[in-house]
Amino acid sequence: MARVEIRNVSLNYHTLAGEVRAVEDISLTIEDQEFVAIVGQSGCGKSTLLSLISGLLRPARGSVFIDQEEVQGPCRRVGYMLQNDYLFEWRTILDNALLGLEIRREKTPEAVAEVKAMLKAYGLGGFEQYYPAQLSGGMRQRVALTRTLATGPDVLLLDEPFSALDYQNRLAVGEEVVKILRERRKTVIMVTHDIPEAVSMANRVVVMTPRPGRIRSIHRIKMCDEGLTPLQTRERPQFREYFTTIWKELNRDD
Protein backbone atom coordinates (compact mmCIF):
# COMPACT_ATOMS: atom_id res chain seq x y z
CA MET A 1 0.00 0.00 0.00
CA ALA A 2 1.31 3.45 -0.86
CA ARG A 3 2.12 5.50 2.23
CA VAL A 4 3.39 8.60 0.52
CA GLU A 5 2.52 9.73 -2.95
CA ILE A 6 4.21 12.67 -4.62
CA ARG A 7 2.37 13.69 -7.78
CA ASN A 8 3.96 16.04 -10.33
CA VAL A 9 5.28 18.40 -7.66
CA SER A 10 7.10 21.61 -8.63
CA LEU A 11 8.27 24.54 -6.55
CA ASN A 12 9.98 27.83 -7.39
CA TYR A 13 11.66 30.17 -4.93
CA HIS A 14 11.05 33.86 -5.48
CA THR A 15 13.63 36.45 -4.57
CA LEU A 16 14.28 40.03 -5.67
CA ALA A 17 17.01 38.75 -7.96
CA GLY A 18 14.54 36.51 -9.73
CA GLU A 19 13.00 33.08 -9.65
CA VAL A 20 14.80 29.86 -8.80
CA ARG A 21 13.35 26.56 -9.96
CA ALA A 22 14.02 24.35 -6.94
CA VAL A 23 12.26 21.11 -7.84
CA GLU A 24 10.43 20.29 -11.02
CA ASP A 25 7.78 17.72 -11.80
CA ILE A 26 8.67 15.13 -9.20
CA SER A 27 6.54 12.00 -8.92
CA LEU A 28 7.36 9.24 -6.48
CA THR A 29 5.38 6.62 -4.60
CA ILE A 30 6.70 5.22 -1.33
CA GLU A 31 5.32 2.00 0.07
CA ASP A 32 4.50 1.36 3.70
CA GLN A 33 7.62 0.53 5.76
CA GLU A 34 9.88 1.30 2.85
CA PHE A 35 13.21 3.13 3.33
CA VAL A 36 13.87 5.49 0.43
CA ALA A 37 17.09 7.49 0.18
CA ILE A 38 17.29 10.55 -2.03
CA VAL A 39 20.78 11.51 -3.19
CA GLY A 40 21.87 14.52 -5.15
CA GLN A 41 24.42 17.31 -5.21
CA SER A 42 24.16 20.27 -2.87
CA GLY A 43 21.37 22.64 -3.83
CA CYS A 44 19.48 20.15 -5.98
CA GLY A 45 16.32 20.62 -3.95
CA LYS A 46 16.53 17.47 -1.81
CA SER A 47 15.70 19.30 1.40
CA THR A 48 13.01 21.29 -0.38
CA LEU A 49 11.39 18.01 -1.34
CA LEU A 50 11.31 16.94 2.34
CA SER A 51 9.81 20.30 3.34
CA LEU A 52 7.12 19.74 0.71
CA ILE A 53 6.32 16.26 2.03
CA SER A 54 6.21 17.55 5.62
CA GLY A 55 3.87 20.39 4.68
CA LEU A 56 6.28 23.11 5.80
CA LEU A 57 6.22 24.32 2.19
CA ARG A 58 3.33 24.11 -0.26
CA PRO A 59 4.06 23.06 -3.84
CA ALA A 60 3.42 25.56 -6.63
CA ARG A 61 2.03 22.73 -8.75
CA GLY A 62 1.13 19.12 -8.00
CA SER A 63 0.32 17.61 -4.61
CA VAL A 64 1.61 15.29 -1.92
CA PHE A 65 -0.60 12.61 -0.38
CA ILE A 66 -0.03 10.70 2.80
CA ASP A 67 -2.38 7.75 3.26
CA GLN A 68 -4.40 9.09 0.32
CA GLU A 69 -4.90 12.41 2.10
CA GLU A 70 -3.50 15.61 0.64
CA VAL A 71 -0.88 17.34 2.80
CA GLN A 72 -2.02 20.83 3.81
CA GLY A 73 0.50 21.60 6.56
CA PRO A 74 2.59 19.87 9.23
CA CYS A 75 0.63 16.82 10.31
CA ARG A 76 0.99 14.23 13.06
CA ARG A 77 1.61 11.36 10.68
CA VAL A 78 4.95 12.81 9.63
CA GLY A 79 8.08 13.19 11.77
CA TYR A 80 11.04 15.27 10.65
CA MET A 81 14.66 14.87 11.70
CA LEU A 82 16.99 17.71 10.77
CA GLN A 83 20.70 17.79 9.91
CA ASN A 84 21.62 18.52 13.49
CA ASP A 85 20.00 17.41 16.73
CA TYR A 86 19.05 21.02 17.65
CA LEU A 87 18.41 20.01 21.24
CA PHE A 88 17.46 23.06 23.31
CA GLU A 89 20.31 23.74 25.72
CA TRP A 90 17.92 25.16 28.33
CA ARG A 91 15.85 21.98 28.53
CA THR A 92 16.78 18.72 30.18
CA ILE A 93 17.04 15.59 28.06
CA LEU A 94 13.56 14.48 29.11
CA ASP A 95 12.04 17.90 28.39
CA ASN A 96 13.75 17.95 25.01
CA ALA A 97 12.31 14.55 24.16
CA LEU A 98 8.85 15.81 25.22
CA LEU A 99 9.00 18.97 23.06
CA GLY A 100 6.88 17.64 20.21
CA LEU A 101 4.21 16.27 22.55
CA GLU A 102 4.16 19.58 24.39
CA ILE A 103 3.60 21.55 21.18
CA ARG A 104 0.86 19.14 20.07
CA ARG A 105 -0.64 19.48 23.59
CA GLU A 106 -0.47 15.70 24.06
CA LYS A 107 1.80 15.59 27.10
CA THR A 108 -0.25 13.12 29.12
CA PRO A 109 1.25 11.09 32.01
CA GLU A 110 1.03 7.97 29.78
CA ALA A 111 2.91 9.73 26.97
CA VAL A 112 5.61 10.88 29.42
CA ALA A 113 5.98 7.33 30.73
CA GLU A 114 6.33 6.06 27.17
CA VAL A 115 9.02 8.62 26.34
CA LYS A 116 10.90 7.66 29.51
CA ALA A 117 10.74 4.02 28.46
CA MET A 118 12.01 4.94 25.00
CA LEU A 119 14.95 6.90 26.43
CA LYS A 120 15.80 3.92 28.59
CA ALA A 121 15.61 1.53 25.62
CA TYR A 122 18.00 3.76 23.65
CA GLY A 123 20.63 3.75 26.40
CA LEU A 124 19.67 7.12 27.85
CA GLY A 125 18.17 5.87 31.11
CA GLY A 126 19.55 7.92 34.01
CA PHE A 127 20.33 10.88 31.74
CA GLU A 128 16.79 12.30 31.83
CA GLN A 129 17.70 15.24 34.05
CA TYR A 130 21.00 15.99 32.28
CA TYR A 131 21.43 18.92 29.92
CA PRO A 132 22.35 18.41 26.23
CA ALA A 133 25.82 19.93 26.72
CA GLN A 134 26.68 17.00 28.99
CA LEU A 135 25.99 14.35 26.30
CA SER A 136 28.07 12.99 23.41
CA GLY A 137 27.08 13.55 19.78
CA GLY A 138 25.71 10.03 19.36
CA MET A 139 23.61 10.28 22.52
CA ARG A 140 22.24 13.64 21.45
CA GLN A 141 21.22 12.14 18.12
CA ARG A 142 19.31 9.41 19.93
CA VAL A 143 17.52 12.03 22.03
CA ALA A 144 16.57 13.80 18.79
CA LEU A 145 15.25 10.50 17.43
CA THR A 146 13.23 9.94 20.60
CA ARG A 147 11.81 13.47 20.30
CA THR A 148 10.70 12.68 16.73
CA LEU A 149 9.29 9.23 17.53
CA ALA A 150 7.49 10.45 20.67
CA THR A 151 4.69 12.03 18.64
CA GLY A 152 4.07 8.66 16.95
CA PRO A 153 4.58 9.46 13.27
CA ASP A 154 4.22 6.71 10.62
CA VAL A 155 6.45 8.47 8.11
CA LEU A 156 9.90 9.79 9.02
CA LEU A 157 11.75 12.38 7.01
CA LEU A 158 15.50 12.40 7.69
CA ASP A 159 17.51 15.34 6.35
CA GLU A 160 21.18 14.27 6.44
CA PRO A 161 20.58 13.12 9.99
CA PHE A 162 24.15 11.96 10.62
CA SER A 163 26.13 14.68 8.87
CA ALA A 164 27.03 16.43 12.12
CA LEU A 165 28.70 13.30 13.53
CA ASP A 166 32.27 12.16 12.91
CA TYR A 167 32.75 9.12 10.68
CA GLN A 168 33.09 6.53 13.44
CA ASN A 169 29.96 7.73 15.20
CA ARG A 170 28.07 8.12 11.97
CA LEU A 171 28.31 4.41 11.21
CA ALA A 172 27.39 3.37 14.76
CA VAL A 173 24.46 5.79 15.11
CA GLY A 174 23.24 4.95 11.60
CA GLU A 175 23.22 1.26 12.50
CA GLU A 176 21.20 1.93 15.66
CA VAL A 177 18.73 4.28 14.00
CA VAL A 178 18.00 1.88 11.16
CA LYS A 179 17.44 -0.92 13.67
CA ILE A 180 15.02 1.20 15.69
CA LEU A 181 13.11 2.41 12.63
CA ARG A 182 12.73 -1.14 11.29
CA GLU A 183 11.54 -2.44 14.67
CA ARG A 184 8.96 0.29 14.79
CA ARG A 185 7.91 -0.37 11.19
CA LYS A 186 8.36 3.20 10.04
CA THR A 187 8.27 4.43 6.48
CA VAL A 188 11.42 6.50 5.94
CA ILE A 189 12.50 9.08 3.40
CA MET A 190 16.13 10.11 3.91
CA VAL A 191 18.00 12.83 2.08
CA THR A 192 21.80 12.59 1.90
CA HIS A 193 24.76 13.37 -0.32
CA ASP A 194 26.64 10.37 1.11
CA ILE A 195 26.18 7.56 -1.43
CA PRO A 196 27.49 4.73 0.83
CA GLU A 197 25.09 5.84 3.54
CA ALA A 198 22.18 5.75 1.08
CA VAL A 199 23.12 2.34 -0.34
CA SER A 200 23.69 0.79 3.10
CA MET A 201 20.32 1.82 4.52
CA ALA A 202 17.73 2.10 1.78
CA ASN A 203 15.42 -0.23 -0.15
CA ARG A 204 15.53 2.25 -3.00
CA VAL A 205 17.91 5.06 -3.85
CA VAL A 206 16.53 7.98 -5.84
CA VAL A 207 19.11 10.02 -7.78
CA MET A 208 18.23 13.66 -8.40
CA THR A 209 19.59 15.98 -11.08
CA PRO A 210 21.21 19.32 -10.22
CA ARG A 211 18.90 22.34 -10.07
CA PRO A 212 16.12 22.30 -11.02
CA GLY A 213 15.81 19.01 -9.13
CA ARG A 214 14.23 16.21 -11.12
CA ILE A 215 14.35 12.46 -10.61
CA ARG A 216 17.10 11.02 -12.80
CA SER A 217 16.93 7.36 -11.85
CA ILE A 218 15.77 4.99 -9.11
CA HIS A 219 17.84 2.03 -7.92
CA ARG A 220 16.50 -0.90 -5.94
CA ILE A 221 19.03 -2.15 -3.37
CA LYS A 222 18.71 -5.91 -2.84
CA MET A 223 20.59 -6.17 0.46
CA CYS A 224 18.17 -4.06 2.42
CA ASP A 225 15.23 -6.09 1.11
CA GLU A 226 17.01 -9.16 2.49
CA GLY A 227 17.03 -7.56 5.93
CA LEU A 228 20.76 -6.91 6.25
CA THR A 229 21.86 -4.12 8.58
CA PRO A 230 23.78 -1.13 7.14
CA LEU A 231 27.14 -2.46 8.37
CA GLN A 232 26.47 -5.92 6.92
CA THR A 233 25.45 -4.32 3.63
CA ARG A 234 28.71 -2.37 3.49
CA GLU A 235 30.61 -5.67 3.57
CA ARG A 236 28.80 -7.18 0.58
CA PRO A 237 30.64 -7.23 -2.77
CA GLN A 238 27.56 -5.73 -4.51
CA PHE A 239 27.92 -2.65 -2.31
CA ARG A 240 30.76 -1.36 -4.51
CA GLU A 241 28.76 -2.01 -7.68
CA TYR A 242 25.80 -0.01 -6.42
CA PHE A 243 28.14 2.73 -5.29
CA THR A 244 29.83 2.98 -8.70
CA THR A 245 26.55 2.97 -10.61
CA ILE A 246 24.99 5.66 -8.47
CA TRP A 247 28.17 7.74 -8.38
CA LYS A 248 28.26 7.74 -12.20
CA GLU A 249 24.57 8.64 -12.34
CA LEU A 250 25.13 11.59 -10.03
CA ASN A 251 27.99 12.96 -12.08
CA ARG A 252 26.43 12.40 -15.48
CA ASP A 253 25.76 15.51 -17.58
CA ASP A 254 22.51 15.40 -19.50
Binding site: Y80, E89, W90, L99, I103, Y131, A133, T151
Partner: protein, 268 residues
Protein backbone atom coordinates in the same frame (compact mmCIF):
# COMPACT_ATOMS: atom_id res chain seq x y z
CA UNK B 1 43.15 14.99 41.10
CA UNK B 2 44.13 15.61 44.73
CA UNK B 3 47.18 17.40 46.13
CA UNK B 4 48.99 14.09 46.76
CA UNK B 5 48.60 12.70 43.25
CA UNK B 6 49.85 15.88 41.53
CA UNK B 7 53.39 16.06 40.22
CA UNK B 8 55.72 18.65 41.81
CA UNK B 9 55.81 20.60 38.53
CA UNK B 10 52.03 20.84 38.48
CA UNK B 11 51.95 22.02 42.09
CA UNK B 12 54.59 24.63 41.31
CA UNK B 13 52.56 25.75 38.29
CA UNK B 14 49.40 26.11 40.40
CA UNK B 15 51.32 27.98 43.09
CA UNK B 16 52.70 30.32 40.41
CA UNK B 17 49.17 31.12 39.23
CA UNK B 18 48.02 31.84 42.77
CA UNK B 19 51.01 34.12 43.44
CA UNK B 20 50.31 36.08 40.24
CA UNK B 21 46.63 36.51 41.13
CA UNK B 22 47.53 37.67 44.64
CA UNK B 23 50.02 40.16 43.22
CA UNK B 24 47.41 41.72 40.95
CA UNK B 25 44.87 41.98 43.79
CA UNK B 26 47.45 43.39 46.18
CA UNK B 27 48.62 46.04 43.72
CA UNK B 28 45.02 47.04 42.98
CA UNK B 29 44.38 47.49 46.71
CA UNK B 30 47.62 49.40 47.31
CA UNK B 31 46.90 51.73 44.40
CA UNK B 32 43.53 52.64 45.93
CA UNK B 33 44.96 53.12 49.43
CA UNK B 34 47.91 55.08 48.02
CA UNK B 35 45.65 57.48 46.16
CA UNK B 36 43.59 58.18 49.25
CA UNK B 37 46.70 58.66 51.43
CA UNK B 38 48.22 61.02 48.84
CA UNK B 39 44.95 62.96 48.69
CA UNK B 40 44.79 63.23 52.48
CA UNK B 41 48.44 64.34 52.82
CA UNK B 42 48.19 66.80 49.91
CA UNK B 43 45.14 68.43 51.46
CA UNK B 44 46.47 68.66 55.01
CA UNK B 45 49.87 69.99 53.85
CA UNK B 46 48.09 72.63 51.78
CA UNK B 47 49.38 71.37 48.38
CA UNK B 48 45.77 71.43 47.22
CA UNK B 49 42.91 73.50 48.55
CA UNK B 50 40.85 71.20 50.78
CA UNK B 51 37.87 73.55 50.44
CA UNK B 52 37.71 72.84 46.71
CA UNK B 53 39.14 69.34 46.53
CA UNK B 54 37.88 68.09 49.91
CA UNK B 55 39.86 65.31 51.58
CA UNK B 56 39.22 61.70 52.69
CA UNK B 57 38.81 62.50 56.40
CA UNK B 58 36.30 65.27 55.62
CA UNK B 59 34.41 62.94 53.28
CA UNK B 60 34.29 60.36 56.03
CA UNK B 61 33.01 63.01 58.46
CA UNK B 62 30.32 63.98 55.94
CA UNK B 63 29.26 60.35 55.63
CA UNK B 64 29.09 59.97 59.42
CA UNK B 65 27.02 63.16 59.67
CA UNK B 66 24.59 61.87 57.04
CA UNK B 67 24.30 58.63 58.95
CA UNK B 68 23.74 60.38 62.33
CA UNK B 69 21.07 62.61 60.80
CA UNK B 70 19.40 59.46 59.58
CA UNK B 71 19.26 60.72 56.00
CA UNK B 72 21.94 58.39 54.61
CA UNK B 73 19.59 55.43 54.14
CA UNK B 74 16.80 57.66 52.87
CA UNK B 75 18.94 59.12 50.06
CA UNK B 76 20.50 55.75 49.23
CA UNK B 77 17.10 54.08 49.31
CA UNK B 78 15.50 56.56 46.92
CA UNK B 79 18.29 56.27 44.37
CA UNK B 80 18.37 52.47 44.50
CA UNK B 81 14.57 52.21 44.32
CA UNK B 82 14.31 54.63 41.38
CA UNK B 83 17.13 52.86 39.53
CA UNK B 84 15.68 49.39 40.10
CA UNK B 85 12.26 50.59 38.95
CA UNK B 86 13.88 52.26 35.95
CA UNK B 87 15.83 49.30 34.69
CA UNK B 88 13.24 46.63 35.39
CA UNK B 89 10.43 48.66 33.80
CA UNK B 90 12.71 49.80 30.97
CA UNK B 91 13.91 46.28 30.24
CA UNK B 92 10.42 44.77 30.57
CA UNK B 93 8.88 47.36 28.25
CA UNK B 94 11.82 46.88 25.89
CA UNK B 95 11.18 43.14 25.78
CA UNK B 96 7.45 43.62 25.12
CA UNK B 97 8.12 46.05 22.27
CA UNK B 98 10.85 43.78 20.87
CA UNK B 99 8.33 40.90 20.86
CA UNK B 100 5.93 43.10 18.87
CA UNK B 101 8.71 43.94 16.40
CA UNK B 102 9.57 40.23 16.09
CA UNK B 103 5.92 39.27 15.66
CA UNK B 104 5.20 41.63 12.80
CA UNK B 105 7.78 42.20 10.08
CA UNK B 106 5.63 45.07 8.83
CA UNK B 107 5.57 46.83 12.22
CA UNK B 108 9.32 46.29 12.53
CA UNK B 109 10.01 47.90 9.15
CA UNK B 110 7.71 50.83 9.92
CA UNK B 111 9.31 51.44 13.33
CA UNK B 112 12.92 51.08 12.18
CA UNK B 113 13.76 54.76 11.41
CA UNK B 114 11.97 55.96 14.56
CA UNK B 115 14.02 53.65 16.74
CA UNK B 116 17.26 54.70 15.07
CA UNK B 117 16.47 58.38 15.66
CA UNK B 118 15.30 57.84 19.25
CA UNK B 119 18.47 55.87 19.92
CA UNK B 120 20.71 58.66 18.66
CA UNK B 121 19.28 61.58 20.66
CA UNK B 122 20.70 62.08 24.17
CA UNK B 123 17.76 61.08 26.34
CA UNK B 124 18.83 63.34 29.22
CA UNK B 125 17.86 66.27 27.01
CA UNK B 126 14.25 65.16 27.54
CA UNK B 127 14.58 65.69 31.31
CA UNK B 128 12.92 69.12 31.50
CA UNK B 129 10.00 67.77 29.44
CA UNK B 130 9.38 65.00 31.97
CA UNK B 131 9.56 67.53 34.83
CA UNK B 132 6.95 69.75 33.16
CA UNK B 133 4.67 66.81 32.33
CA UNK B 134 5.05 64.76 35.50
CA UNK B 135 6.08 67.35 38.10
CA UNK B 136 9.01 67.16 40.49
CA UNK B 137 8.10 63.66 41.61
CA UNK B 138 9.58 60.18 41.66
CA UNK B 139 7.55 59.52 38.50
CA UNK B 140 9.62 62.06 36.55
CA UNK B 141 12.87 60.51 37.84
CA UNK B 142 11.78 56.97 36.94
CA UNK B 143 10.54 58.19 33.54
CA UNK B 144 14.01 59.60 32.96
CA UNK B 145 15.62 56.28 33.97
CA UNK B 146 13.27 54.36 31.63
CA UNK B 147 13.83 56.79 28.76
CA UNK B 148 17.59 56.26 28.97
CA UNK B 149 17.37 52.45 29.02
CA UNK B 150 14.33 51.44 26.96
CA UNK B 151 15.64 52.01 23.42
CA UNK B 152 18.81 50.03 24.05
CA UNK B 153 16.68 47.26 25.56
CA UNK B 154 14.44 47.18 22.49
CA UNK B 155 17.37 47.06 20.09
CA UNK B 156 19.31 44.43 22.02
CA UNK B 157 16.28 42.18 22.48
CA UNK B 158 15.07 42.51 18.90
CA UNK B 159 18.53 41.64 17.57
CA UNK B 160 18.68 38.74 20.03
CA UNK B 161 15.29 37.42 18.86
CA UNK B 162 16.35 37.60 15.23
CA UNK B 163 19.59 35.77 15.95
CA UNK B 164 17.90 32.69 17.43
CA UNK B 165 18.95 29.69 15.31
CA UNK B 166 16.32 29.46 12.51
CA UNK B 167 16.72 25.67 12.59
CA UNK B 168 15.34 25.62 16.15
CA UNK B 169 12.29 27.49 14.86
CA UNK B 170 12.05 25.08 11.92
CA UNK B 171 12.20 22.16 14.36
CA UNK B 172 9.15 23.27 16.33
CA UNK B 173 7.37 24.14 13.09
CA UNK B 174 7.72 20.50 12.00
CA UNK B 175 5.63 19.68 15.07
CA UNK B 176 3.02 22.18 13.85
CA UNK B 177 3.86 24.97 16.32
CA UNK B 178 1.84 28.19 16.17
CA UNK B 179 3.54 31.60 16.20
CA UNK B 180 2.75 31.94 19.90
CA UNK B 181 4.33 28.57 20.60
CA UNK B 182 7.43 29.52 18.60
CA UNK B 183 7.68 32.61 20.81
CA UNK B 184 7.23 30.84 24.15
CA UNK B 185 9.02 27.57 23.44
CA UNK B 186 11.96 28.86 21.39
CA UNK B 187 12.47 32.61 21.06
CA UNK B 188 11.99 33.65 24.70
CA UNK B 189 13.95 30.82 26.38
CA UNK B 190 16.73 31.05 23.77
CA UNK B 191 17.00 34.78 24.49
CA UNK B 192 17.39 34.57 28.27
CA UNK B 193 21.16 35.27 28.05
CA UNK B 194 20.41 38.31 25.87
CA UNK B 195 17.87 39.51 28.43
CA UNK B 196 20.45 39.31 31.19
CA UNK B 197 22.97 41.15 29.01
CA UNK B 198 20.35 43.86 28.39
CA UNK B 199 19.65 44.04 32.11
CA UNK B 200 23.37 44.48 32.81
CA UNK B 201 23.69 47.34 30.35
CA UNK B 202 20.49 48.91 31.64
CA UNK B 203 21.62 48.93 35.26
CA UNK B 204 24.31 51.42 34.32
CA UNK B 205 22.09 53.43 31.97
CA UNK B 206 19.21 53.65 34.45
CA UNK B 207 21.56 54.93 37.11
CA UNK B 208 22.55 57.74 34.72
CA UNK B 209 18.86 58.48 34.12
CA UNK B 210 18.06 58.41 37.82
CA UNK B 211 20.86 60.78 38.78
CA UNK B 212 19.99 63.25 36.01
CA UNK B 213 16.34 62.95 37.04
CA UNK B 214 17.26 63.70 40.64
CA UNK B 215 19.36 66.68 39.54
CA UNK B 216 16.26 68.15 37.93
CA UNK B 217 13.33 67.04 39.99
CA UNK B 218 13.91 65.69 43.42
CA UNK B 219 14.08 66.38 47.12
CA UNK B 220 15.95 63.19 47.92
CA UNK B 221 18.46 60.73 46.47
CA UNK B 222 22.17 60.86 45.72
CA UNK B 223 21.63 63.06 42.65
CA UNK B 224 19.80 65.56 44.83
CA UNK B 225 22.62 65.43 47.42
CA UNK B 226 25.26 66.06 44.76
CA UNK B 227 23.43 69.08 43.34
CA UNK B 228 22.64 70.40 46.83
CA UNK B 229 26.27 69.95 47.97
CA UNK B 230 27.46 71.77 44.88
CA UNK B 231 25.08 74.67 45.44
CA UNK B 232 26.11 75.22 49.08
CA UNK B 233 29.75 74.57 48.12
CA UNK B 234 30.05 71.58 50.44
CA UNK B 235 32.52 69.53 48.38
CA UNK B 236 32.85 66.86 51.06
CA UNK B 237 29.13 66.15 50.76
CA UNK B 238 29.46 65.98 46.95
CA UNK B 239 32.41 63.60 47.15
CA UNK B 240 30.70 61.46 49.79
CA UNK B 241 27.62 61.19 47.54
CA UNK B 242 29.75 60.23 44.54
CA UNK B 243 31.42 57.48 46.60
CA UNK B 244 28.00 56.22 47.68
CA UNK B 245 26.90 56.27 44.05
CA UNK B 246 29.94 54.18 43.17
CA UNK B 247 28.97 51.65 45.83
CA UNK B 248 25.38 51.55 44.54
CA UNK B 249 26.46 50.89 40.96
CA UNK B 250 28.87 48.13 42.01
CA UNK B 251 26.24 46.42 44.18
CA UNK B 252 23.59 46.61 41.44
CA UNK B 253 25.98 45.32 38.79
CA UNK B 254 27.04 42.35 40.88
CA UNK B 255 23.40 41.72 41.78
CA UNK B 256 22.61 41.24 38.09
CA UNK B 257 25.76 39.13 37.61
CA UNK B 258 24.61 36.91 40.47
CA UNK B 259 21.19 36.60 38.81
CA UNK B 260 22.93 35.70 35.55
CA UNK B 261 24.88 32.88 37.17
CA UNK B 262 21.71 31.50 38.74
CA UNK B 263 19.75 31.57 35.49
CA UNK B 264 22.42 30.24 33.13
CA UNK B 265 23.44 27.40 35.42
CA UNK B 266 23.31 24.09 33.52
CA UNK B 267 23.44 25.75 30.13
CA UNK B 268 26.57 25.91 28.14
Amino acid sequence: MTEETMSPEHLAYLRGLRVKAALVRGTQFLLLVGLFVLWEVAASRGWINAFIFSQPTRIWAALVRLYREGSLWRHLGWTVWETVLGFTLGTAAGIVIAVMLWWSEFFSQVMDPYIVVLNSIPKVALGPIFVVWLGTTITAVVAMAIAVSIIVAIMMMHTGFKEVDPNKVMLVRTFGASKGQILWKVIIPASIPTMIAALKVNVGLSLVGTIVGEFLASKAGLGYLIVYGGQVFNMSLVMASVLLLLAVSVVLYYGVTFLEERVTKGRQ
